[in-house]
């Protein structure tokens, strides 16, 4: 019960702190409770250990005045000297030790004023215990400074860690989202229904080809569905999937589509993320060859050089749109697909992977993915 009220109070206090904008004042307010506790400890020390003869209340007022003076001097001068940039530990201690005696005298004067004591007599009285007091103030300042300094470092470290965490979370989220969108885009209803329509027609016109088409559709569906769950796939299975896809499209497009697939045997077992190459092939069909009157050729190849795997999709279709700039990110579906590919590559390989689109000659587009090879 007591614990929970304390926790509630702390929570409320922190809530209130969060409403204050980040500034010097906020720092001071944040550190205030700690300062007050240290001042109470000093009071007890002076009254019962040093025994200067003054009352507990009087010592408490003086302790607060001296503590506050030291604190404000150290913080104020520190802020003036270093602004927001944190100083080195040594510089901060040096500052604390130099400011402590000044704070001591200043605090004593404030105390004297508060109790309407003559300032000189108070200073004279204090001077009897001067060494004890100055030493005490210095020790306390350094200890307090150390604790405050650590606190600052801690809060800053926590802030940095939280920022980093948020950034990672957002990257992860983006990657997940990109992946999700890719998966949703995978088996397009349009593609599926068009294929089924062709199959429906072929069954009565050419049953053998219908059989073949059905078999390829099954390969395509199975591979697409299992690939969307896997973390890695081999180039061989990715190329099988692409082969099935292109076979289906070739039946649909008839003589308008020619395709070549080139996967060197030694690269067959190479691992790549699934659904990376296929969306690019689908884009080449959808935006390059399908809308082209005379169709064209699509060539898919893989090669390896200096530990870098290069996947290339080359088509002779319509080519990149007017004003196309490779880096632009637009609310355009085809480019959204490209953004997805880039985001996934970045999430997986950071800047060691790349995806580029450039014009093919005389017509069409060349899409290239380069990724570092495992090991």
């Amino acid at each position: 019960m007591g614990m929970s009220t304390k926790q509630q109070m702390i929570a409320k206090w922190q809530q209130w702190l969060n409403t204050i904008p980040d500034c010097f004042l906020k720092k001071v307010i944040t550190e205030l409770p700690r300062l007050l506790i240290i001042n109470v400890l000093c009071t007890l020390l002076v009254t019962f250990v040093i025994r200067n003869g003054s009352s507990l209340f009087e010592n408490w007022i003086f302790s607060n005045a001296i503590g506050a003076s030291c604190y404000l001097l150290i913080r104020g001068v520190g802020y003036y000297l270093w602004k927001e940039a944190p100083p080195t530990v040594l510089a901060f201690y040096l500052l604390s030790v130099t400011m402590a005696p000044i704070g001591f005298v200043l605090g004593s004067v404030i105390g004297a004023v508060l109790f309407s004591y003559p300032i000189t007599s108070v200073l004279h009285f204090q001077s009897k215990f001067i060494y004890a007091f100055i030493t005490l103030t210095c020790i306390i300042s350094v200890v307090a400074a150390w604790s405050f300094w650590n606190k600052i470092q801690m809060t800053e470290l926590i802030a940095i860690a939280e920022k980093e965490k948020a950034r990672n979370a957002s990257i992860e989220r983006q990657a997940m989202q990109a992946q999700l969108q890719l998966l949703q885009a995978q088996i397009e209803p349009h593609m599926l229904f068009n294929t089924l329509a062709n199959l429906q027609g072929l069954i009565s016109i050419d049953p053998d080809r219908a059989q073949h088409m059905l078999a390829q559709l099954i390969v395509y569906l199975r591979a697409t569905l299992s690939a969307s769950r896997a973390e890695n796939t081999s180039l061989q299975s990715e190329f099988t999937l692409i082969q099935a896809y292109l076979d289906l499209i070739a039946i649909r497009m008839g003589k308008r589509l020619r395709y070549t697939i080139d996967l060197p045997i030694e690269l067959e077992q190479e691992k790549i993320p699934p659904m990376l190459l296929q969306p690019i092939v689908e884009n080449a069909i959808k935006h390059g060859l399908e809308p082209s009157i005379h169709g064209g050729t699509i060539t898919i190849s893989a090669s390896k050089n200096n530990g870098i795997l290069t996947l290339e999709v080359r088509d002779t279709g319509l080519g990149l749109p007017f004003n196309y700039e490779d880096k632009q990110v637009l609310a355009d579906k085809s480019k959204l697909g490209n953004t997805n590919i880039r985001e996934r590559l970045f999430a997986l390989f950071h800047d060691r992977a790349a995806f580029t689109l450039r014009p093919n000659t005389p017509e069409g587009t060349i899409a290239t993915i380069t990724i570092p090879m495992a090991r």
Partner: protein, 287 residues
């Protein structure tokens, strides 16, 4: 069925055009139509949007089966071009759009009551379409002799306008283009790039693969299509007035309407005259 038989004995058979780029689908549709409507003349079968327009304008069919996603021109673009070019003394054909599964397209077709069939085509569904077409020809004598009262054409134009607004990206088969507007047109002139501020453009005229950008001083070609360019222009300033013309509206001096109802624009800084197609004539009604 009795009805069609009696009709076909009185007139030359009703003829249809099929525009479908996928050969198997085209063959399938022909086979099904042969079965459901044996009297229908299916001699006009084409594989892309360009051929569809050419073939329709030469053979003047009574029915068009237009695939939406075709190379060259989409089914909607074909319909628009035909609506612009169709001779006024001939009845405008009935259009049936054919599309693979696409919920936006279906919604759009339903909203503006355009006839459509979905791929894979079910025989029962096609039967309904055939019946609808047949009953239409029952009330309207097909072919030449009778000039269109304009109702069919008007209906198609209204439908087209609605369809274009409802589902441009899906129906035209092209992705939504950038919303960022062009400030300057960069046109290659020999080895130089001519920078044309967009406000200097009087009009754009599309040819096969190029767009002619006309200013008061010169005209320059850019390699693009209106389909790509239009989304990058401010729709308040640049009005499409024809499938191949986009005019800077502040450059228009006057819209002149002749006896046949044809609208021609005269311009402020050019002697060129631009004709407004039927599809866009509504833009120039008085306020």
């Amino acid at each position: 069925m009795e009805l069609t038989t009696s009709m076909s004995t009185q007139h030359r058979p009703i003829n249809a055009l099929i525009a479908e780029d996928e050969p198997i689908l085209s063959a399938t549709l022909q086979r099904m139509l042969n079965k459901l409507w044996p009297e229908l003349d299916l001699s006009c079968v084409v594989e892309n949007g360009f051929e569809a327009v050419q073939s329709a304008l030469t053979s003047m069919p009574d029915v068009l089966f237009l695939d939406i996603n075709m190379p060259g021109k989409t089914g909607l673009e074909v319909a628009q071009e035909l609506a612009e070019e169709w001779p006024i003394d001939k009845a405008f054909p009935l259009i049936v759009y054919v599309t693979a599964y696409d919920e936006f397209a279906v919604k759009a077709f339903e909203t503006c009551a355009a006839d459509y069939i979905l791929k894979p085509v079910s025989e029962a569904r096609l039967q309904k379409t055939v019946q609808r077409l047949q009953s239409h020809f029952q009330t309207r004598t097909p072919n030449v002799q009778q000039p269109d009262t304009g109702t069919d054409l008007e209906r198609v134009i209204t439908q087209l306008r609605e369809l274009q607004q409802l589902a441009r990206p899906t129906l035209t088969g092209h992705p939504v283009m950038p919303t960022e507007k062009l400030a300057v047109i960069r046109a290659a002139v020999g080895n130089n790039i001519r920078m044309i501020p967009i406000e200097d453009v009087i009009y754009f005229e599309a040819t096969d693969k190029y767009i002619n950008v006309v200013t008061a001083e010169h005209s320059s070609l850019i390699r693009s299509s209106l389909r790509e360019l239009l989304p990058q222009l401010d729709p308040h300033l640049f009005w499409q007035i024809h499938r191949s013309t986009v005019v800077h509206i502040k450059q228009v001096k006057m819209a002149h309407k002749d006896e046949a109802g044809k609208i021609t624009l005269t311009l402020k800084n050019s002697d060129d005259k631009l004709s407004v197609s039927r599809v866009y004539a509504h833009l120039f009604k008085q306020m």
